[in-house]
């Protein structure tokens, strides 16, 4: 393991043997961070996907707005639990869903309300802490998830999602969230008159 070659950011010389205790401290530090990133990732994603799948549209005891859209797109039996998804995001959080960007907690909440109901199955999870020098003093990690998602009984599709979460106070919040379905993007058709 060439970790002895790891240099502290900014330092230009290798640490001498006498400095190895420092080095080990640093490494321990790094390991601690990495472990923490892993733990956080596991917990966070568990909560997140549970909310996305189950708690976006809840059925209360009394059925309020029974509203069938013209085309039976979806029968909304109740207004979704309002504050749920936006809790996970920073006020300035950004959600990019298949290339559609949504900025801000409120807009993101709206987005989730409009999104048809989903069912996610996680296949893989990976997480890394982000260097201190990048986000001064705020604990941040970046998480990558892959798996399968099924929207409203459509066919199950593979998806990839990456989050950057940061500690705000004692809570982890999403700074940015990027979701992509694993499929080709069709090019726009040029109209025959424009060719």
């Amino acid at each position: 393991m060439s970790s002895l070659e790891i240099l502290v950011p900014g330092a230009k010389q290798k640490l001498t043997a006498s400095g190895t205790s420092n080095l080990f401290n640093l490494l321990k530090d790094l390991k601690a961070k990495v472990d923490q990133a892993c733990r956080t990732a596991e917990e966070f994603t568990k909560l997140y996907y549970e909310s996305v799948d189950r708690k976006r549209h809840t059925v209360p005891f009394v059925v309020r707005n029974y509203d069938i859209q013209h085309d039976n797109r979806h029968i909304s039996t109740s207004p979704p639990d309002k504050q749920l998804m936006s809790r996970y995001y920073l006020d300035t959080g950004v959600l990019v869903w298949n290339g559609n960007g949504t900025i801000g907690k409120e807009m993101i909440q709206k987005f989730f309300e409009e999104l048809p109901s989903s069912e996610h199955v996680i296949g893989s999870l990976d997480s890394q802490p982000v260097l201190d020098s990048i986000v001064s003093s705020q604990l941040t990690c970046v998480i990558q998830v892959s798996g399968f998602v099924r929207f409203q009984d459509n066919v199950s599709k593979p998806f990839q999602q990456s989050f950057m979460i940061t500690a705000e106070g004692d809570k982890w919040k999403i700074a940015c969230d990027n979701f992509r379905l694993q499929e080709s993007v069709e090019e726009s058709k040029k109209h025959s008159s424009e060719v």
Binding site: S2, S3, E5, I6, L7, P9, K31, V34, D35, C38, E42, Q69, H70, D71, R73, H74, V94, L95, V96, N98, G99, N100, G101, I103, E114, L115, P116, G123, S124, L125, D126, Q128, V130, L131, S133, I134, S136, V142, Q144, S146, F151, N154, P158, Q160, S162, M164, C176, D177, N178, R180, L181, Q182, E183, S184, V185, E186, S188, K189, H191, S193
Partner: protein
Amino acid sequence: MRMHTVLKGLVLRFNLFSCAEDLRQSGRRRDELNSSRTARADEVEILEWVAHRPPPSLCIRHCPESLSLLMNAALSPLLPQDTADQGTSSSLSSEVRLAGAVSLFFSPIQTTSWLIHNEYWNRVLSRLVNCQLETQHYSIPDLKVITVKVEAPFLRMILFSADKEIDPETRKASGRHSGVWQVNPKPQTIANPIGSINLDVPEVPSNPAPGHIMLDQTNAHQVIAGGSYSSFMVLMSKNDYWHKFIYQQEGNNTFFLARNCSGAIEKLCYSMLLVADPQGELITLQIVLGFTPVNSVKLNMQDNFSKTLQRRFEPLNRSLDLSEFHSDPQLAKIVYCPLSQPKTLYYILALAKKALSNILELNLSHNDIEDIKSLDLFSNSPLRILDLRYNQISDIDQLTSLQRVALVSLWLDRNPVCAKYGSENSYVNEIRIRIKTVKNVDGVVIGPIGFRRNHRNYMVRPSQNELVNDFIQHYFSLYDGDIRKKMQGLYHRDALYSLTATYLPGQTTSSTARLQEYMTESRNLRKLSDYTKSYNLLQHGQDRILEALCKLPPTQHDVYSFTVDVPFQSDNVLLINICGVFREMKATQTQPVRAFNRTFILLRMGEGEYQVTNEMVHISNATTEQNTKTFLHPLTSIPSVPTIASTADRVLTESEKAQMTQMFSQITEMNYQWSRKCLAEAYWDVKDGLITFVELYKLRRIPPEAFSKDEDSNKS
């Protein structure tokens, strides 16, 4: 002779004077009018009066001498003395244009109309005017009662005369005036009809369906405007119901013939036969009612239309091009046929449907169309592609006419309705509700219902696309290149790298689908039991990362398959996520295609210099769909990513920059210099600049001097 200033009296006099036997004999009328004088006595009286006054010099023709004189005389009290000049009309809103004096007086006192006529005019009018007398009722097809607003205390007179000559210049010059109605007593033949059109007039069906333009009116009206205004034609077609079919220029006047246009005529009545042209100038119109019976105008419209439609139909892809139909060169010579007229549109579409088989694609662009109800004709037809761009559709509910048309592709751009929707999502949803089958809107494939369309790229700061482009190009060309070791410099000293790999379910475990090299390196936290192993799989620092990268097989990426998202970007850091496919360049025959998802965090090290601090990769096999739709373009080397377009293309002038800086400084309360700096770094994208400012402000990274108020000295 007493001056009969009371209108009723005037009317009465004329009535009595007229040669109509029935009126004269209608003692009832006289009684009503409460006059004991005989008609003859009145006549004599008026003639005497007239003899002593010079008539205003107006053109008089084709009428009984006495009657016209009388008309003159009768009107003269209403005309101020000083407007007895040649050809000038009065400053009143009435217009005198005499000859065959048949007039309708609409009195402000009485609402019934009175007719003066002689035998001849009686017949004429009976075909045209719907008015009621106590004993006589004339019902005229197609032309409703003309109820014209009367400006008290003046009369509005609508005269019918046989005189067609009117010099529009003099009329215009004289100020307020109205147009003139004329009734043509004799059927006219059109001098020199266009070309040699000599075909039969189509049959008139007994029950014309509503909306069909049928030649069922035996009279054509001539509408004349001074000069030649082709734009005038466009105006006339807008809210009216003209169906013009001959357009001709005669001397200084342009005229056209129209029929089935009672609505339009009535409208014109209200506007005093004045129409404003696009430049805002008023055009005076003249209308000759009953110019000619339609039968005498030999024109076969249907045939002409059919020919035009044939010409515009492309049998290979079964597409019919009706864009700018009204300016079709062959057709415009004969008839002005704007598709913005619902009736016209219906007619043409019905004709097209009948004459042409199985239209698949229909182009109705550039027609100023507002109303597309006629498209209902294509319900349950093979029509799949519809182009409605550059029209005037302002109500999304117009699309309900298409609900039974199984459209796949709809072009609705450049219609007022588009501006009503702020977000693409709501626009598409509204269309989708009404046309269930649509898959393509304005050339873009829309996602399934409830989903946003799949965009290729997203950048939270669109102006920074060059940076991202450069990075991607650099990274992937090195990665695909011979010596991956060269990538060392891309990574930060303390960079972290990890890889995960999963199989898609249902994939055969053929040799090509094995992700062996990746699986050994896969740091899937869900599968790893303890953190030690996962720690070991996390590569830290340049050397270890490069070691890991070099272990992986050589690749060739398909740049055209990349989707790039940059959901986070600050001054120094950005997060890039790329999804796409690559081919493993194995020595074996098959080169399996893998799908990847890479997340990079880049840190700015200096001016224009960035390094990767975090990288996470996910590898799986490409889906069947990806396999077919990627690697379609021949690749020799990694080109610059063609897909991220620059939005910050505009070159701003200095004054524009100054303005933007000023505004920015006002919003942020920073001084001019710092505002400018901030804006410049955001490539003059104000939104970006503001986002940056807010971020920096939150992180307390803006020094207090940025807010010092010595603007003047710092202004550049």
